[in-house]
């Protein structure tokens, strides 16, 4: 399909179990930017069950054409079934670029779709650019966040998963007009049988507005109570650097960084975190950053707005107390 591909940019809108993942709007926002540079259209593909409302939203958020494969068999996420129906649309439409969210579903589905199409795929992009003739430049952090690699793909569609909460979401405009095209499902048989479905058990730190994160400055696992209290006073969730996850003091889903979660909260408070490249890769785009660390040369201060060069044990309890006082007023 290499020769016949257009420059058009297609976004996979992630819909499962009745809801549209917000990463879809971020992809549409980026796709509009890229489409302006390459002078091409923004397309969306959505598969699932009960899609009419979500499909309209794709148009409101920037899709020129939204392709929907709506079938009750796709109520739950089934990677092979979703792949078969997406691939059928992509093969017909032949976009030059295909973007998916680097969410658990996107990371499970994207490689299947790309492999079935016989094209390359780049994981976890944090930046995207495009040339006027439609060559996609995909930037991803590599080697524990030490480097940023720019990658190009010789096959079409140039496929990439894009990190959640890195790109700016498209704004919603209900007067926007676009085309909605329904496609019949080419496959309706889920590969796996769903025995039960429940809300995710994972803590989703990437959605938190405020994060209080802790690193090696913590001396004993039980002292995490001090961090939790600060988080509580701020209405925050507790994040962690990798070493504490490796120690088993904090959980994997709390990990911020290259190999954990990318976060972009309104406020990030780094307690006793030195700021390895791999950690910075996951939090440096936060709106406001506070660093508390006794080592004045800690790299975390380079990416922070406000710094306190003190032991966390000295200042964290006082800060908690101070914040609690204000709440009472």
């Amino acid at each position: 399909m290499m020769s016949a591909a257009s420059k058009d940019i297609m976004v996979y809108a992630e819909f499962s179990a009745g809801s549209l993942h917000p990463v879809s709007f971020e992809l549409l926002g980026k796709a509009r930017e890229l489409a302006a540079k390459a002078s091409c259209k923004v397309l969306a593909v959505i598969v699932g069950s009960g899609l009419s409302e979500a499909t309209r939203e794709l148009v409101f958020h920037g899709a020129d054409i939204a392709y929907a494969v709506d079938h009750p068999s796709m109520d739950g996420f089934d990677s092979r079934l979703f792949q078969q129906n997406i691939v059928s649309v992509v093969e017909e439409v032949k976009p030059g670029v295909l973007l998916l969210g680097a969410t658990p579903i996107g990371r499970s589905l994207g490689p299947r779709v790309a492999a079935a199409l016989g094209t390359g795929i780049t994981a976890d992009c944090t930046e995207l650019d495009i040339t006027s003739d439609g060559k996609l430049v995909q930037v991803r952090p590599a080697f524990a966040g030490n480097i940023l690699a720019s990658i190009q793909t010789s096959t079409r569609p140039q496929t990439a998963t894009v990190r959640y909460r890195v790109m700016k979401p498209a704004s919603r405009d209900t007067t926007r007009e676009g085309e909605v095209i329904s496609k019949p499902a080419v496959a309706t048989e889920p590969s796996s049988k769903v025995l039960s479905r429940a809300k995710s058990k994972r803590m989703d730190i990437s959605n938190a507005e405020i994060i209080v994160s802790v690193g090696r400055g913590l001396l004993k696992p039980e002292d995490i109570g001090m961090i939790r209290e600060l988080a509580e006073a701020l209405g925050a969730v507790v994040g962690s650097s990798r070493p504490l996850v490796d120690e088993g003091w904090t959980k994997k889903e709390q990990q911020v960084g290259f190999s954990g979660n990318t976060v972009k909260p309104k406020l990030y408070v780094a307690c006793g975190i030195s700021g390895s490249p791999q950690h910075l890769a996951g939090m440096r785009d936060s709106e406001h950053i506070v660093a508390i660390n006794k080592d004045p040369s800690a790299p975390i201060f380079n990416v922070s707005d406000v710094g306190v060069q003190m032991d966390i044990y000295q200042v964290v309890p006082l800060l908690t107390e101070e914040l609690r006082k204000r709440k009472k007023i």
Partner: protein
């Protein structure tokens, strides 16, 4: 059917399947990331001093495979693609319970992206012949893509599940797993043959016993060259030549530095100032 998970099932509850399973575990030898030297100025990566070890996530996959085998009977084959030095890493998988270990190593495999890697692995899997289950770790610590498992599944047109936190049951013809896709957690029955990518939660890897280590020293790690899988995969799909993605530029992480205002003085004064600043941000919305 029998239960696996984190709890050891009383032997009496174990009912064997009508035929023993063949489980393939994908293992990658990765450099110890702490030992990889990185030159900020040139952007060069120096892995020469970094010792190779099994990708930690793959050891969780191997452990659950060995537990299934121990309860059920069957064979665990470890399949890996990598440099010749990876042989020791594969020997280690034998001491951890693998029955055979195959290292696919050839210049023709080198420089592969995940598409080309998946094609090499597909060739290896096809050469292995009949199998029921392919287990992979969630991702590797060096590449960090997690793509090879699902790419391989699509190439073989098999069902796949990722982010599998526990293997709950193995029956004739299928495996029951709990997987968490971030928005929802599913308990699914996945028919054999299939590809399952597991998280670290699935099972803690065992430490090999000394006797197992000694035994593995004599074990043979099978070496497969590109020619050995030539009839199972198109050679044009392998290595650098077969890779559709190319790194065109490397740069060090741009130091998007901020001007950090340092708060100094008595801790109580600092705490007050910090609380003021934070309050300003959160209330002001700026």
């Amino acid at each position: 059917m029998f239960f696996i998970g984190h709890i050891t099932t009383p032997a009496g509850l174990v009912r064997s399947l009508s035929k023993p399973l063949h489980i393939i575990v994908l293992v990658k030898a990765v450099p110890d990331i702490e030992q990889v030297k990185f030159d900020e100025a040139t952007g060069r990566i120096d892995r020469r001093n970094a010792k190779l070890e099994a990708n930690p996530f793959d050891l969780n996959a191997l452990e659950i495979a060995v537990r299934i085998k121990e309860q059920q009977g069957g064979t665990v084959s470890v399949l890996s693609m990598g440099p010749p030095q990876a042989e020791e890493v594969l020997r280690d998988t034998i001491s951890r319970g693998a029955d055979r270990a195959i290292l696919m190593t050839d210049g023709a495999f080198a420089g592969a992206d995940t598409w080309a890697t998946s094609n090499s692995i597909m060739g290896g899997v096809r050469r292995l012949g009949q199998f029921d289950l392919i287990l992979a770790g969630e991702k590797t610590v060096d590449g960090d893509t997690g793509q090879v498992g699902p790419e391989l599944a699509a190439l073989l047109d098999l069902p796949s599940e990722c982010y599998v936190d526990s293997v709950d049951r193995v029956s004739d013809g299928n495996i029951e797993v709990t997987c968490d896709y971030g928005t929802h957690q599913y308990v699914k029955e996945v028919p054999f043959p299939c590809v399952i990518s597991v998280t670290k939660n699935v099972a803690n890897p065992r430490l090999p016993k000394l006797s197992d280590k000694i035994r593995s020293k004599k074990a043979v790690v099978e070496i497969w060259k590109a020619d050995d899988i030539g009839q199972f995969v198109d050679k044009a799909r392998l290595g650098t030549v077969g890779s559709p993605t190319h790194v065109i530029k490397i740069r060090t992480t741009s130091e998007s530095k901020r001007n950090c205002r340092m708060l100094t003085g008595e801790p109580s004064k600092v705490a007050k100032e910090l609380a003021d600043t934070i309050e300003g941000w959160l209330v002001g919305g700026a």
